[in-house]
Amino acid sequence: MKFLKYILVISVLILMGGGRTDACGPYYPDDPNYILMFRSCSPELERQWQDGCRFQDYEKEQNCILWQNITSPSIPISDIEKVIYDARLSDINDLSSSSLSNNKFAKWLSNPNHREDLEYIRIAKEIEEIREYMNNPWYYAYEGDDEHSRLTELKEICQDYKGSRHASRYSLQLIRLHFAVSDYKSCIDLWENRVSKFPQNIVTDMIASYVGGAYSRLGNRDKAIELFTQSQDIGSLISLKVWNGVESSSNYTDERVKELEYIYNRFPNSPLLSIKLQEYVRNRESFVYNYEDWKDRGFHDPVLVKTYWKGDSLIADAEQAFYDELKRFAQKASRSNNCHQKGMWNYALSYLYFLDGDLNKGLSYLNRAEHSEATPFIKESIKALRFLLDAQKASNSGVYLSKLQRDLRWLDEQMENDVKLNPENDWQYNNKLNWRVCYWQDVARKVLLGVVCPKMKQDGNHTLAIQVANYASNRIYQLAPLFKAYHYGYDDPDDKDSYDVILPFDEYRKSWSGRNYFDYQNQFFEFVYNSNADEAAKYAQRIKNPVSELDKFLNERSYVDTDYIYDIVGTLYMREMNYEKATDWLSKVSSDYQQRMNIAKEGYFKLDPFRYQFDKKHFISDSNDYKLRFAQEMARLDKMINSDAELNRKAESKIRYAIGLRNSFGKCWYLTAYGYNMGWRCGKWHTSSDREGFKDNSYAQRAFKKVDALMEEAISEFTDSEKAAQAQLEMLNYATLMKQYPNTKAAAHIRTRCDNLYDYSLQYR
């Protein structure tokens, strides 16, 4: 049923004559198994590293503490940070401005006695802003331009500073200015003659880092390494590949592990280790999924799997040697006394063994991780892995179900906290179905949709599986209920403008004029759609009548709109040709609801499902309760077929029923499905009126057999040749009609009509 993911927009082409598609989207949910769940560092830490191979937060904090030390302990660090890092020069020039009016550090600086501090901040801000402007794409440098001239003046001011209070800070500004113009010699001179004699602090460390860079550029690698090590500038050490030759006794051969070893030996608790570890384990995670996917596709097109040829065989490059070394290194790291992150290394080992398919070893290391020293952040990640591995191991036992209930409560809290942490974050209203931006939502989807639900289904617990799938797919819309919808002007005859609008999800579902991209494309829907109608009905009943605390918990946190659920159940019954039950369920769906569906918006409900051939002349004017009316009519015809004694009427009922049935697996596919995969198959373009297009649909195949049988029976049962001829006419069987019923009114009608029909009349006059 994977095709369901691709159906709605494609199917638009069927009725509307083709050619209209959305510029972007619709977006399809990822396979939950593809979600990468290993997490040893925060996205913020990762970003800081990617931005400049530094951990700015650490530098910021230390620098602010230093300012606090030389000013006043009563000034909060946050106030210092605001002035030093966030304020512009214009704010500093007007310290009483509203943005700094309540800032204690600004107040300190306003005091005439603290002019020296203020002056330095002014100079630093001006240098920063000029350099910022010089990086602006609009800036065009020429010798003697204002920016260069002013920087020269500022450089002189920095050089002329004779005080001691800000000596290192002015030196930092000078070093930056020298470095920016590649004057490495001046950087080194300044260091050797002056800064190296200052007491070490975060500012001199920052200077050391620049000077290390200057040495490196002038070819003095050893001195560069010395200064980078002193300033803990791991990024620069890495760029020099310092581990080459240094770790001569290394037991590792892979460069990446050697690098980890180098960092670990010098900075065993560096945040960089967590960043590197996350990258490597996630790469492995991604490989495992992609390899499985490649295997499922019969080893065709290894797009996302690195491969190489060995003789005639295409081998997936699993980098086994690297991961074996990584595991060896992680084991060593997890045993070292200097390490305060043993939990992280054990967590990584657990994950890597789990990815190798060794669940027991994975659980064993997880157990160690749970009992090792770790930051609260890593402890939460360990808990998430516990949730995953328990689900992998679980059977459908009562013990597991009660644990699941506890875990769900914990997971739900995590999801809720994520939302609270970032209430203004874009992901609150962007496309949450596909963007893996909320870690705990990812965990829910990966574990519940990828492991728990399929297992429950396999164990026969269909109802709970559907309930859990609904929770995992839809909870996020309750927690972050805003959605940024894009209005395509061409979609809406009343409003031709295109625009973005942020609206509550509930409103989006109920009154948005464009398409609903979510409710029929998520894994919950896929799950329920792949169930049989009775299972879906059972689930629908459970929503109304919860039998356990777990039911209540899940129902409260899922999308349980009865219109939505009952429409699906009714449709599944129609797919199974059970029109009686379909009528029961569809009669509970509000008339409004169907008009909100994408198919209604696209005009599909204009087609008369009992027409043999469709044309605009026979569009139906009242499409209210379209699905219900169809189900009722089919149920009525079913009864007639089984009970009517008059043969001609019975035959007519059979033909009408057969046409309706054929159309419900043809042009009117939306009566039995929520999409149709139109496209090329075996070199032929299949539309929805083509049986070949339903080749893989077992419900359709069963229906087609019934259609053929009913048609055959009906034709043979007619005793009234006029009625038989009329039936043939409606089914466009002109040749048969003219041959078998030449003296009927229908045959006469053909003779008076267009040339094509007239040919038949000549032939069989």
Binding site: P137, W138, Y140
Partner: protein, 351 residues
């Protein structure tokens, strides 16, 4: 008989007199040309061209202004493809810095026109200072339409704020813009090229087509246009390659090559249209890097001097009595080699 000779002689004399009276000799006047490349470097032939045709002004594209997505350093409207000077401008030639502004950039500049006017002016000045160019005139080139007209006009007004009274602000004027109020600039240059739809196979010539231009010259809108105009004519060409689709041909690419006479697998199916009867590889090394495939079509577009002069005659007719210069687009040896000196002189000539 003598009487007839006399009449004929008289007529010839009148004709000659009228010619010398109304046509300035090309060698006597100062001409202009556009320079539209990203590196300023002149070949010997180009230098010769400037000298031979007494070109004293080069309208030089300094940079484009385009919408940047994602934003660069917080700027979502940025200068792009800034010119690099590998050569100095020959003595005695004035450079008119020309800035091409895309319509998407213009849309983004709305309400911030003054800010961008400053940015543009500052950048143009910086480029001029670095390259010893004296700014007498700045030209803005934008295909503004009704939606972007007001922001563009506001930008022009704001630009003037930065320019001194000796400096001129000019703007290109496209044919379709003739129907609207002119921008608030000191003068305009009517662009008589890129008149058709490049992407459409049905266009007969997207660079210069009488069919596309004539409708704008039928009435008196050019004659009555309330802004002093010079006129720019195309002296370049290219070919446009189309690939077949189910119902129509679709744009594939532009090629600099315009001579296809030596390719037997290209059948000429119209005066400027070829169709490939099998794959044709134009790449010199035979790697297939420049290839068209079977059934592809190539439309050759290079306006002939005859076509240009016909249109020029119509335009000159409308601008009669209004002093105006003719400008060539653009300085490129390989393109100009398709026109003789005499043809260039005729295009430059003022009537």
């Amino acid at each position: 008989m003598k009487k007839y000779y006399l009449i004929i002689c008289l007529l010839i004399s009148i004709a000659l007199l009228s010619c010398t009276a109304s046509t300035t000799l090309e060698s006597d006047k100062e001409n202009s040309i556009y320079y539209w490349r990203t590196t300023f470097s002149l070949s010997d032939k180009e230098k010769e061209f400037l000298k031979d045709h007494n070109v004293k002004t080069i309208y030089m594209r300094f940079f484009d202004v385009d919408w940047a997505y994602p934003a660069k350093n917080g700027e979502d409207v940025t200068p792009e493809a800034t010119i690099r000077f590998n050569d100095t401008v020959p003595d005695g030639i004035d450079v008119v810095p020309t800035v091409y502004i895309t319509t998407s950039a213009m849309e983004k500049m709305q309400t911030k026109e003054a800010e961008y006017a400053e940015k543009i002016y500052k950048r143009v000045s910086a480029i001029c200072k670095k390259n010893n160019i004296n700014i007498k005139e700045i030209q803005l080139d934008c295909d503004w339409t009704k939606g972007t007209r007001q922001p563009f006009f506001r930008l022009c007004e704001a630009m003037k704020e930065y320019m001194d009274s000796t400096q001129t602000l000019s703007s290109t004027i496209r044919l379709h813009q003739l129907t609207q109020t002119p921008p608030p600039v000191d003068k305009g240059v009517l662009m008589v090229y890129n008149t058709g739809n490049l992407m459409e196979m049905t266009s007969d010539n997207s660079i210069f087509s009488r069919k596309d231009i004539e409708p704008y010259l039928r009435d008196t809108r050019l004659a009555n246009y309330p802004l002093a105009l010079d006129v720019a004519y195309p002296t370049y060409g290219w070919s446009v390659v189309f690939h077949p689709g189910e119902e129509k041909y679709y744009f594939y690419k532009i090629s600099r090559r315009t001579d296809f006479s030596n390719y037997p697998n290209l059948t000429k199916i119209a005066s400027n249209l070829y169709e490939a009867t099998s794959d044709v590889d134009f790449s010199e090394d035979g790697t297939g890097s420049d290839k068209v495939y079977k059934n592809y079509r190539i439309r050759v577009e290079r306006p002939s001097s005859k076509e240009i002069l016909e249109i020029k005659k119509l335009i000159d007719g409308q601008l009669k009595g209004k002093q105006h210069n003719n400008i060539l687009y653009h300085l490129d040896e390989s393109q100009l080699s398709h026109y003789s000196d005499n043809e260039i002189s005729k295009i430059y000539s003022r009537n």
